[in-house]
C-alpha cells in the first residue's frame, strides 16, 4: 500500500447500491447515514412521548403499566439526547463543515464510518432492552446510583443501556474530534479562522465541548458498570455523589452540544434570507467560545438539592451565561433588522426560535437561582424549561437548517406549502404542550410520575399539554409526507437556490464525491459568494461608467463607514 499525502485525496471509485452507502468513505454519505438514523429515532422516541402524554391526559389512566411507563420516559429522554439530537448536531457538522471550508473531504473518513457503526450498534443495544424479559432501562436518563445498580435494577435492559450509551458516546466523541481536525487542517486558500462561516464556528465550539465532556460520559458509564458488578460500592455516599458529578460534567455541556450547531444553522439562515452579511461576526465568535468554556463550569446547578455542592458558585457562573447567550441573540436579531427578509420555511423556523428559546433561557436563569430551584427542581417546571430549550429552541433550529440544506443534500427543494403547515402546527403544538407544564410543576407535579390523582388539581394543565402533544404528532406526519413527496417530486434545486453566500452553495446539489468540481475562489470573508457578487457588480459599474477603479473603491469604503452608529 502506498502512502498518500493528506492534502492530495485519491479519487474514490464509488460503489453502487447498498454497499455504496454502508461502506462509503464520502463524508456526505456518512452524514446522511447519521442524520437518517437519527431522524428515525426522533420519530420512534417522539411516539413514546405521545404515548406518555396520552396516559397523562386524564388522572388515573393506565395505558402503560408503571414499569413500561418508566421504560418509556427513560428511553424517550436518553434516546432523544444520545441517539437523536446529538447525532443531528454532529451529522450536520459532518455534512457541512468540509463543504463550508472548501475541503474535498473530511479528516479520517474511515474512522468516521466506524464511529457511525459504534453509534448505530450502541443505539440498537439501548433499544434492544425492550426484547429482554425485564424490559428496557427504566431509571431515567441520568440513571442515579444506587437505583441503577444491579440490586435495585436487576434486568439485562439496564446492562444493554450502559453498553449502548458507552458505544454511542464513544462514536460521537471521535466524530467530534474528526470535525475539529477537519476545521483546523483542511481549510481552502484564504479561509483564515476569522473568515469561516458561523455554522462552522458553532461546530468548533460544539466539538471542543464534545472532546472535553464526552469522556465524562464514558467514565460515568464505567462507574455504572462497577456498580452493577459490585453493588457494594453504592454503600459509599462518596461513590453515589461522585457519579452525579461525573454524569453532569457530561450532562450539562451536552445540552449546549445539542444547541450550538442549530444556533449556527440559524445564523446562516438569517444571513441568507436577509440578503446580507452576519452582523457582529467577531462578537458572535467570541460568544460561542466563551459559551463553550462556561458550559464546562456549571454542571453543579443540576445538583443544588443534593446538599453536597457549592450552590453559590454554580449559581453565579450559570447566571453569567446570559452574557454569551445575549450576544448570540444580538447577532441573530441585528442580522434580521435591516435585511430584506424572504419568508421561506427555513427563516420562519429561525424566527420562531427567538421567543421560544428565550422562554427556555429565562426559566433557566430561574432554575439557576437556588432559592427557586429548591421549589422547581425535578418538577414539570424543569420538564417545560428544557423542552423549550431543546424542542422550542434546538429542534426549531434543526428544522431551519433542515429546510435550508435539504436541497443541497438531495438536489430537490422541500415543498413550501407543506413546510409552512408543518411550521405553524409545530409552533402551536409546542406552546400548547409546554406552557401548561410550567404550571403543572408549580402546582406540585414531580417529573417521571406515571399518573396523578384527580384531587391533585393537575387535570386541566395536563389535558391541555396532551392536546398540544397531539398537534405536534400531526405536525410530524406533515413533515414525513413532505420528505417523502419532495424526495420524488420536489422542484429541482440547482447549485444555489437561495442565493446564499457560503462555499457549500458553490457546487452542484448534491455535490460530487470530492465536493467541488471547479477551483474555488480565494476566500476573503465569511461570505465568499457575496464577495464575488459584489466584485462583479463593482466591475460592471466601472465598465459602464468608465470611472477610475480607485475612486470607486474609495467611494465604496466611504459609504461603508458612513452608517456606523
Amino acid at each position: 500500500m502506498t502512502t498518500v499525502p493528506a492534502s492530495v485525496p485519491t479519487v474514490p471509485v464509488p460503489r453502487r447500491g447498498v454497499a455504496g452507502w454502508l461502506l462509503t468513505t464520502d463524508h456526505k454519505r456518512i452524514a446522511l447515514l447519521i442524520l437518517g438514523t437519527a431522524l428515525v429515532f426522533f420519530f420512534v422516541f417522539g411516539a413514546m412521548a405521545l404515548t406518555m402524554r396520552s396516559q397523562l391526559a386524564l388522572p388515573g389512566m393506565s395505558i402503560l403499566s408503571p414499569h413500561l411507563y418508566s421504560e418509556f420516559f427513560t428511553m424517550h429522554g436518553s434516546g432523544m439526547i444520545f441517539l437523536a439530537i446529538t447525532p443531528f448536531a454532529l451529522g450536520l457538522g459532518v455534512y457541512l463543515v468540509p463543504l463550508q471550508i472548501g475541503s474535498p473531504t473530511i479528516a479520517a473518513p474511515r474512522l468516521l464510518l466506524f464511529c457511525y457503526y459504534l453509534y448505530l450498534f450502541g443505539a440498537l443495544g439501548m433499544v434492544g432492552g425492550f426484547l429482554t424479559s425485564h424490559g428496557a432501562a427504566d431509571d431515567g436518563w441520568f440513571a442515579y446510583v444506587p437505583l441503577s445498580g444491579s440490586e435495585y435494577s436487576p434486568g439485562k435492559g439496564m446492562d444493554l443501556w450502559i453498553a449502548g450509551t458507552f458505544l454511542a458516546g464513544l462514536g460521537q466523541l471521535i466524530i467530534g474530534g474528526a470535525i475539529l481536525w477537519t476545521v483546523m487542517r483542511l481549510r481552502t486558500k484564504g479561509m483564515s479562522l476569522m473568515r469561516m462561516p458561523l455554522f462552522t464556528w458553532s461546530m468548533v465550539g460544539t466539538t471542543l465541548m464534545v472532546i472535553a465532556s464526552f469522556p465524562a460520559l464514558l467514565a460515568a458509564m464505567s462507574m455504572l458498570t462497577v456498580a452493577r458488578f459490585h453493588p457494594g460500592v453504592t454503600a459509599s455516599n462518596t461513590f453515589n455523589i461522585a457519579y452525579q458529578d461525573v454524569f453532569w460534567f457530561y450532562g450539562h455541556p451536552v445540552v449546549y452540544v445539542m444547541f450550538f450547531p442549530f444556533v449556527g444553522a440559524i445564523l446562516d439562515v438569517a444571513a441568507t434570507f436577509s440578503g446580507r452579511r452576519n452582523s457582529g461576526y467577531k462578537w458572535t465568535v467570541i460568544a460561542l467560545l466563551a459559551f463553550s468554556t462556561g458550559s464546562m463550569a456549571v454542571w453543579g446547578h443540576h445538583m443544588f438539592t443534593t446538599g453536597q455542592i457549592p450552590n453559590d458558585y454554580f449559581s453565579v457562573v450559570s447566571i453569567f451565561l446570559i452574557v454569551p447567550a445575549g450576544l448570540e441573540y444580538f447577532s441573530i436579531i441585528s442580522t434580521l433588522v435591516g435585511g430584506r427578509l424572504v419568508y421561506r420555511t427555513a427563516l420562519l423556523f429561525a424566527i420562531a426560535f427567538l421567543p421560544q428559546f428565550f422562554i427556555g433561557g429565562a426559566t433557566g436563569v430561574m432554575l439557576a437561582s437556588p432559592t427557586l430551584d429548591y421549589m422547581l427542581h425535578d418538577t414539570y417546571f424543569v420538564v417545560a424549561h428544557f423542552h423549550y430549550t431543546l424542542f422550542g429552541g434546538s429542534v426549531f433550529g434543526f428544522f431551519a437548517g433542515f429546510y435550508y440544506w435539504f436541497p443541497k443534500a438531495t438536489g430537490r427543494l422541500l415543498d413550501e406549502r407543506l413546510g409552512k403547515t408543518h411550521f405553524w402546527l409545530m409552533v402551536i403544538g409546542t406552546n400548547v404542550t409546554f406552557i401548561p407544564m410550567f404550571l403543572s410543576g408549580f402546582f406540585g407535579m414531580p417529573r417521571r410520575v406515571e399518573t396523578y390523582p384527580p384531587t391533585a388539581g393537575l387535570t386541566t394543565t395536563n389535558l391541555i399539554s396532551s392536546i398540544g402533544a397531539g398537534i405536534l404528532g400531526i405536525s410530524m406526519v406533515v413533515l414525513a409526507i413532505n420528505i417523502v413527496k419532495s424526495l420524488h417530486h420536489g422542484e429541482r434545486a440547482g447549485a444555489n437556490p437561495w442565493g446564499a453566500f457560503t462555499l457549500e452553495w458553490a457546487t452542484s446539489s448534491p455535490p460530487p464525491p470530492l465536493n467541488f468540481s471547479e477551483p474555488l475562489p480565494y476566500v476573503t470573508s465569511p461570505a465568499p459568494l457575496l464577495d464575488l457578487r459584489e466584485r462583479a457588480e463593482l466591475d460592471a459599474v466601472e465598465a459602464a461608467e468608465g470611472h477610475a477603479h480607485e475612486t470607486l473603491l474609495a467611494h465604496a469604503a466611504a459609504s461603508e463607514e458612513e452608517p456606523e452608529r
Binding site: 427504566d138 431509571d139 431515567g140 442515579y144 444506587p146 437505583l147 435495585y152 454503600a235 455516599n237 453515589n240 455523589i241 436577509s274 446580507r276 452579511r277 452582523s279 461576526y281 438539592t305 443534593t306 446538599g307 453536597q308 450552590n311 453565579v316 447566571i319 446570559i322 452574557v323 445575549g326 450576544l327 441573540y329 436579531i333 434580521l336 433588522v337 435591516g338 435585511g339 430584506r340 427578509l341 419568508y343 427567538l354 428565550f358 429565562a362 426559566t363 436563569v365 430561574m366 439557576a368 432559592t371 427557586l372 429548591y374 421549589m375 425535578d378 418538577t379 414531580p446 417529573r447 417521571r448 406515571e450 399518573t451 396523578y452 390523582p453 459609504s559 461603508e560 456606523e564 452608529r565
Partner: protein, 215 residues
C-alpha cells in the same frame, strides 16, 4: 429560615424581568418581520459591524448578570444563616416506597405504606417553631418535597442532609418524593400537618404512651 418568603422574593424580581425582556424581543421581532419584509422592495443593509453598540451591549449584559447573581447569592446566603439550634429534631427516612418520621430523643416513629391516600404517613409539626430535619434514605436516592414550603432536598443513603423548617400557621399540606426512585415513585406521598405547640405536645405525649403500652 423561610423558604417560601425567599422563593417569593427572588421570583418577584426574576419573573418581571423575564416577562419584560420577552415583550421586548417579541416587539423587535414583530417590527422586523413587518418592516423588513422583501415585499417592500428595499435593498438589504451592508453594515455588518456596530463598533459602539456591541461593546456597550456586552457591558450591559455583564452588569445585569452581576446584579442578578449578587442578589441571588445574597438571598441564598440568608437561608443558610437561618440554621439555628432547634429544640425538636425529626429524622426523616425515605425508603422504597414510603417515608418514616422519627422524633429524635423520643421513642416515637410515624410511618406508613403509601399504598393509598389514607396510608400516607403524616409529619406533625408545631406552629411557630424551627424544626430540624435530618434527612436520609434506606436504599436509593429519594427527594423530600413539600410544595407549600417551596423546598425540597435529596435523601441519600449513608449520608444525612440537615435543614430547618418552620410552619408559620396551622395547616395540612401534601408532600411527595420528587426524584425517580423506582416504579412506585409516583405514589410516594406524605402529609405535613402543623398544629399549635400545645396540641403538638399532647399529640407527642399520646404517641409516647401508645409506644410504651405496646412495649
Amino acid at each position: 429560615m423561610n423558604f417560601r418568603h425567599d422563593f417569593n422574593e427572588v421570583f418577584g424580581v426574576e419573573a418581571p424581568i423575564a416577562i419584560a425582556v420577552m415583550v421586548i424581543i417579541c416587539a423587535i421581532v414583530a417590527f422586523t418581520v413587518i418592516r423588513y419584509r422583501a415585499g417592500r422592495g428595499h435593498e438589504p443593509s451592508k453594515v455588518a459591524k456596530h463598533p459602539v453598540a456591541e461593546p456597550l451591549y456586552v457591558v450591559a449584559l455583564v452588569i445585569i448578570a452581576l446584579g442578578l447573581s449578587i442578589f441571588v447569592a445574597h438571598v441564598n446566603g440568608q437561608e443558610r444563616r437561618g440554621l439555628g439550634k432547634p429544640q425538636l429534631s425529626v429524622r426523616v427516612v425515605g425508603f422504597q416506597w414510603c417515608w418514616s418520621f422519627h422524633y429524635e430523643h423520643t421513642p416515637v416513629t410515624v410511618t406508613g405504606t403509601c399504598l393509598t391516600k389514607s396510608q400516607d404517613p403524616t409529619l406533625m409539626l408545631p406552629v411557630g417553631e424551627d424544626v430540624r430535619i435530618d434527612l436520609t434514605s434506606n436504599d436509593v436516592v429519594h427527594e423530600f418535597w413539600v410544595p407549600y414550603f417551596r423546598f425540597k432536598m435529596e435523601a441519600f443513603p449513608h449520608h444525612v442532609n440537615s435543614f430547618d423548617v418552620r410552619a408559620t400557621h396551622p395547616g395540612d399540606w401534601v408532600g411527595r418524593c420528587a426524584v425517580y426512585c423506582g416504579i412506585f415513585h409516583y405514589r410516594m406521598d406524605f402529609r405535613v400537618k402543623a398544629v399549635s405547640a400545645s396540641a403538638f405536645d399532647s399529640w407527642l405525649r399520646s404517641q409516647r404512651a401508645s409506644v410504651h403500652s405496646a412495649a
